[in-house]
């Protein structure tokens, strides 16, 4: 087995690992982390497409590589937005979960009594 298919299989396994973490782990920040694992697995799969496209004196195809670079930057921007949403959710409801069944923090006493 050559390097590029080995890296591709690692990418596939990373997507699987990330998907498992995304479903199983209840903490939103851990979900973002798992989602980033899926992302880097997908980038790696794209990376072997770039490596296999070696031609014309280049050991790689530059087009997929350039797209992976933009992809990494956009993935970070999306993670930052997701983190900001979680912090805001926590501020609003006092809970750090996406589960709708978990009751939110009881309202401050005095505010609810007429």
């Amino acid at each position: 087995m050559n390097v590029s298919s080995l890296a591709g299989l690692v990418g596939a396994a990373l997507v699987g690992l990330g998907l498992y973490g995304l479903i199983v782990n209840p903490q939103p920040l851990r979900k973002i982390l798992a989602f980033n694992l899926i992302g880097s697995g997908a980038f790696l799969v794209f990376g072997i497409v770039a490596r296999r496209g070696a031609a014309a004196a280049f050991p790689f195809d530059p087009v997929p590589q350039a797209m992976v670079i933009t992809g990494i930057v956009v993935a970070f921007a999306a993670s930052a937005l997701a983190v900001a949403l979680i912090l805001r959710l926590q501020e609003e409801t006092g809970k750090v979960t996406l589960d709708p069944d978990v009751p939110s923090k009881p309202p401050v006493t005095g505010a609810s009594n007429p």
Partner: protein, 315 residues
């Protein structure tokens, strides 16, 4: 099996093991530390795939800046209270999730082993036109010349992400500064790190941008390193995150996409079509665009990490 193959196999196992750790670790902090290590290992994999530009980006943004984002937000959540409150999944849900994950990974692995022969490639086309751009790094040529419109839109995505993060602020603090990144009092080792690393890091960041035309590197990688230096200084509280209403900050955020778009719109006059560069003068224009992109990236990434404004604008 040669030495290199053994090393490759070892690297693959190590990457998967550390990735597994980030999923399995109990503590958020341990998991994030695992993720940073994972990103650095992954950049070695990128080197093995002959992708030094991607390796630099992964190390700087995928591992470094994302790591800072997760550590900072984890600390903010913890300060606010019950971070571990959520119920863990039951065994049946775990089993189903594992089955689904194995299925997806197996399908992807099958596709990878059955990729078409001969592989499709755009490398010859990229190589043919390289002389016309005046660049020697084909990846930079793809980013700023061949697919320049994509890269410009991607810069706009970054600005939109900042707008999205800022718009989560309550009305009363609009225009104010985000919460500080670090602890209340600067610590000795951190101050030493500032003095030793930051001047060097600024040089390295500018260098990586400058050589990106011909060698591995470029605006994204250089900008990310400069962003990291600014964040280190903010974490040690030598400087605070700026007010989001500050004019210089807003100019820095939009400078990259604005200059890029202006050059693209000037294309019909200079080179005959939208985003065309004049023949023989492409490289100076590309470096001009990239310089502003570096500035914007160096301003955008720390503002995304710092989060929405938290202090009221009057001080």
């Amino acid at each position: 099996m040669s030495i290199l193959q053994v090393l490759d196999l070892g690297l693959a196992i190590l990457v998967l093991a550390v990735a597994g750790w980030t999923i399995a670790a109990r503590e958020l902090f341990a998991s994030v530390v695992g993720y940073v290590a994972y990103g650095l290992l992954l950049s070695i994999v990128w080197i093995r795939l002959y992708a030094p530009d991607v390796a630099l980006t992964e190390a700087a943004i995928g591992s470094g800046v994302t790591g800072v984002l997760l550590v900072t937000s984890g600390a903010r959540l913890k300060r606010a209270g019950n971070v571990e409150a959520a119920e863990p999944s039951g065994p049946s849900q775990r089993f189903l999730a594992a089955a689904l994950a194995v299925l997806v990974a197996a399908a992807l692995a099958t596709v990878i082993l059955l990729l078409p022969e001969p592989p499709p490639t755009l490398a010859p086309e990229a190589g043919q036109q390289l002389a016309a751009t005046g660049l020697a790094n084909p990846v930079t040529a793809v980013l700023i010349a061949y697919r320049s419109f994509d890269t410009m839109l991607e810069k706009i995505v970054l600005v939109l992400a900042v707008v999205g993060v800022w718009s989560l602020a309550p009305d009363r603090v609009w225009g104010g500064a985000p919460a500080p990144l670090g602890r209340a009092r600067p610590e000795g080792p951190l101050l030493f790190l500032d003095q030793a690393l930051v001047p060097l890091g600024i040089l390295v960041g500018i260098h990586i941008f400058w050589v990106g035309a011909d060698e591995p590197g470029g605006a994204f990688q250089g900008g990310a390193i400069l962003a990291a230096m600014w964040m280190i200084v903010m974490i040690s509280r030598l400087t605070e995150p700026p007010r989001v209403g500050a004019r210089w900050l807003r100019l820095a955020l939009v400078a990259g996409p604005a200059v890029f778009l202006a050059v693209g719109l000037a294309g019909p006059g200079m080179g005959g079509s939208f985003f065309a560069y004049p023949a023989g003068f492409a490289k100076p224009i590309i470096l001009f665009i990239e310089a502003f992109m570096v500035l914007s990236i160096a301003a955008t990434l720390p503002m995304l990490v710092a989060g929405p404004p938290r202090r009221s604008p009057e001080r």
